[in-house]
Symmetry: D3
Subunit: 243 residues, 6 copies
């Protein structure tokens, strides 16, 4: 933990990569956003469907579900296409479920009417942090989709809750680094993904000692860094949405 | 067939939509292109893998294969994700096979060494003509990937053949229309996809009377229009590649 | 293209193989036909089901769908059974879709009532041209099935349209050859499948330069040959049906 | 159990349906047989592959495997195609395994060399007894395939063992009936399938009280009838093979 | 068949392994039983669901279905988990179907109301005879589940029929041995599974000459032994149930 | 958060349910443990296979992988069997991956030789906390399996690392509750699973605001409670293993 530790891209330890949020990236879905965390690029869309899944029928409430996927050529070495393999990998399932839970924390289903919002996060280019970028971008797409619903008059209330954003933080050579690119992520001792609300509360934390375990103190330091990152990401969401 | 037939977007009957070809759209694959035929947008990548499938082992030749897919939110109404359904639709299979055959006509496998080129065409936004845009864009990605291979010295010869491009043409209300957007495609009596070489020869023609059959004369008129379209598309490919 | 080109089976360039159509090949389906193009033998059946798929519900119209399959021992070397592999090959999907489109051109769905006709084409023995034989044979099975429906009084109108038949034509050593057996098909430079109505119009054309491309002149010569072949096949259909 | 019990097709209680065995039904597989038990028609083929599955590698022995399938239009009401459903039904698996075990009793694997024989039994028309007809027919196809192997000099010994045949017998309205057609099979209280060698020994017996149980005495009576049936079927096999 | 044949575990030829039946093994299903035939241990549960499958709708009758499965670590060498392979093996399907048929012989569906009983037999430890232990144990779970249904007042009549039990018997070195453990099962010439009612009638018999065929006399001797075994198993069922 | 909050089972807020660990639960796998957290019962086995997956070939290191599954009748309402559905649920995948990561933190792969340990966690009865019980139980099975490997002399070094255990903690009506049974888990605002080493470091933490988010202070309180629980669970592991 000498003072001469340097991140490959020259960032400070608690500095985000450049974040870019492009609304209206495609025109068919109600919300369509391209989000970039440095070289990581994810297309996040929010499509609206009338009606809800069976377990929500006649509840008067809406539903939100999410699917995450990597394009085969998104990674450094091309990965086989999951549709051709005939099954979805565990990692994909896991992230889809995470994105769904995170975004449901940003919507008041009781105000949505019996409508379903389908979030799709398709990674065009992967350089670490694809799941966290997906969540942050999907919130913006969700906001746009809800605005469409409201303008169409099909939403009875105000379903959009304040922003939710996500970032990764890790221990790299013993240093707490924010927003890991692939190169750092692959060799990090610990990887922590944090989903946070604007109020500074956690929606989800997932910390994994991939190559080692981590102490309570290290966790605390990582959470501090993540909190700083999420606040900046929420500012970027608000700026993109002009709210 | 009165003279007051008008295309919804105001184009002449034998006019292409605006074509845009963006090279280097993403950075991981050897070739990565965003092609646009009007509102249709397809990300076409060419990834290189050392080695060949079993049926080509020890042949001294390379191989090229292609996969086409639509992102779920590419269409007006979101379509279920094929990886989640656990199987690929017949349409997807059919187009993947078409793209593969078309691109193999643009590469001399005997000059490629025992390398495999994987073409991926992922439709980000669909407005008709996704299969033809895929072919035209994939040629540019292929050219870039082969240039990488050559610069790395792993390709023994000159595998790239002259351009191959593709366009759709159809009978709409009895009129031969070039490069159909979704709105025309959906109501066309006949739909013809043509893949053509720079020399003006056909690599593939697929004509379908979706809502009616077509005479030899109508076929001839459609082929004339397609030929004009392909020539313009090949010019756009050459311009994008600077060759 | 010297004059000493000879087809292995001694046929003229534009001569069909012997065509045999056996009606009532099996007794359970409403229509059941064994069609033979030389050594290619396909069992074509048309089964009738009351009701229509969801997208046709309450339309007052019927539907027709088709499935093509090869028995594992139909080919020279036994092929793995698709049901055991757990997925259908792209080629199978593609041909099933082709057969369905072709046969829908031979039935007026608005006259069928809300009934579904399932066409099954199961190749018992394969020697080239299985998809075209399937279409030609399936028309006869369809005609028989519609006759059953009419005799049962469940069909309101006259759904059967005039015959549709199909044939392959190809360029073999530069010669336009009609109705390719496997040996010619495997080495043909170009393979063109043509589906034609009795009126001489095209329902579908699919031309592929498997080992080379083809000029407009070659296409014209192939279409001439295919037209001759389809006319003879339609005569065989009419003769088999006694209409 | 009054004396006025009559079988719908007028047969005696212990009388087989007419058995027809057509060798050389198709030409690609080494053995190809159409077997008919009345209206039940099954195409049975035996294809030879050099090499054996992994668990038999370097054993010096061969292997035999079998697959049974119904064409979708074989039954009175069309059944969905298993390849399209993406999975094979339990019944199909069960019969494939039965056919494999039965035929392995008719071949001396130690005399086969490291070759694999694939038996395919595809039911063209079903009217009860399809699994037993499959076994009886497959023996004849197996004999033909082994003759081919011997003529090619690739089989070191004499792998063919004496005939194995199979028949169903059941209790219908309390009467022991041999070789049940569909109509009897569907309402039989008990259904017993028997696979027997020429020496009169059992290879397999499977008795099921579908709609009731059965006593030891009833079992004995059914076995007597099955034995008579199998002897006649073996005579038919020998007659077809001219041995 | 000399008199010095000894079973590895010292049992008499017609002696069962120790049978243990533990009711209430788990608490969520209506019936839950652990059955042990020596070292073979199967958890058998009977779960009740209101409603019936489509083919039984509005029949006024209930339904019973069964699934059998081996835990991956149940066998000496761990076997791949079927859920991960994405398909169920033929053997599993076959046994599930057998268990279902056997148990349906122990329930009067017309007295069950429109309820479905799901039998699950999960093998915790396998040492031969898992399918027969499953049947014997599942009867006890079924009895408990029906008692629950009756106590809840949802069953109109008395659906439980007298006990059904099952045992394997085989020819090992020419000797008829009852209740084969894995070591005997693997080398048995013949394997016969018998499902019997308390009245001494057969519900199902399945005899297979895995490594040889078997004569009528050998079958008779095996059935005698199996009958003795089933009577003792039914006594154990009655004792466990206290009826 | 009034002082009259009571847990349904009367436990203190930071009290574990009764933990029982039964070694040698089944005899075929090298390690086999039944672990109980109150009414939650999981069979955890560790099976050893010689050799490693491809990505570890010739590394000189071993591998450990894990699969988690629920028996269909483990839950209050029976759940469909995943092998029959043909695909594994996202939740199952997610937990299997978690268990694998957690257990790899308890084994020094470099000391294992090129052997693979397969952990199977099959839930016999579910009452909350099945994933955490799986991890805690699997450590004991792993220890037993490694002892077997060492006694067989196939393990070069000392692969077993100090214990790893896991527990859930949640916010229920605003109270931090340790080791949630199903009833509490279903209504908890927040659910946190913690995997900890004997040294008190984290291997994994997964916190989810299912019905609400959580503050940093609440997280700290939950981590305190989880740490207490893990220490007690590790004592139980040591006691069971007698180490």
């Amino acid at each position: 933990m000498t003072s001469d530790f340097q991140r490959a891209d020259g960032r400070d330890l608690d500095q985000l990569r450049t974040v870019r949020i492009t609304r209206g990236f495609t025109s068919n879905p109600a919300g369509s956003v391209l989000i970039e965390y440095g070289n990581t690029r994810v297309m996040c869309t929010a499509s609206v469907e009338h009606g809800v899944p069976r377990f929500k029928k006649d509840s008067g409430e809406g539903w939100l579900t999410a699917e995450y996927s990597m394009l085969p050529a998104a990674t450094h070495d091309r990965m086989p296409r999951e549709s051709m393999r005939g099954k979805v990998k565990g990692r994909t399932h896991e992230i889809s479920r995470l994105v769904g839970r995170a975004l449901r924390a940003a919507v008041d289903l009781s105000q949505l009417g019996e409508n379903t919002i389908n979030i799709d996060c398709d990674v065009l280019q992967a350089d670490g942090g694809t799941r966290t970028a997906s969540i942050t971008g999907a919130y913006v797409a969700l906001a746009d989709a809800i605005a469409v619903l409201k303008s169409e008059g099909v939403v009875p209330g105000e379903p959009l809750l304040p922003p939710v954003a996500a970032v990764s933080v890790g221990l790299v050579d013993g240093h707490v680094c924010l927003d890991l690119p692939y190169e750092e992520d692959a060799r990090a001792e610990v990887d922590l993904n944090v989903v946070m609300t604007e109020a500074g509360n956690f929606v989800e934390i997932q910390g994994t000692g991939e190559h080692g375990d981590f102490s309570r103190e290290q966790l605390d330091a990582m959470l501090d860094s993540a909190e700083k990152g999420c606040r900046e990401l929420i500012a970027a969401q608000r700026s993109a949405l002009g709210i």
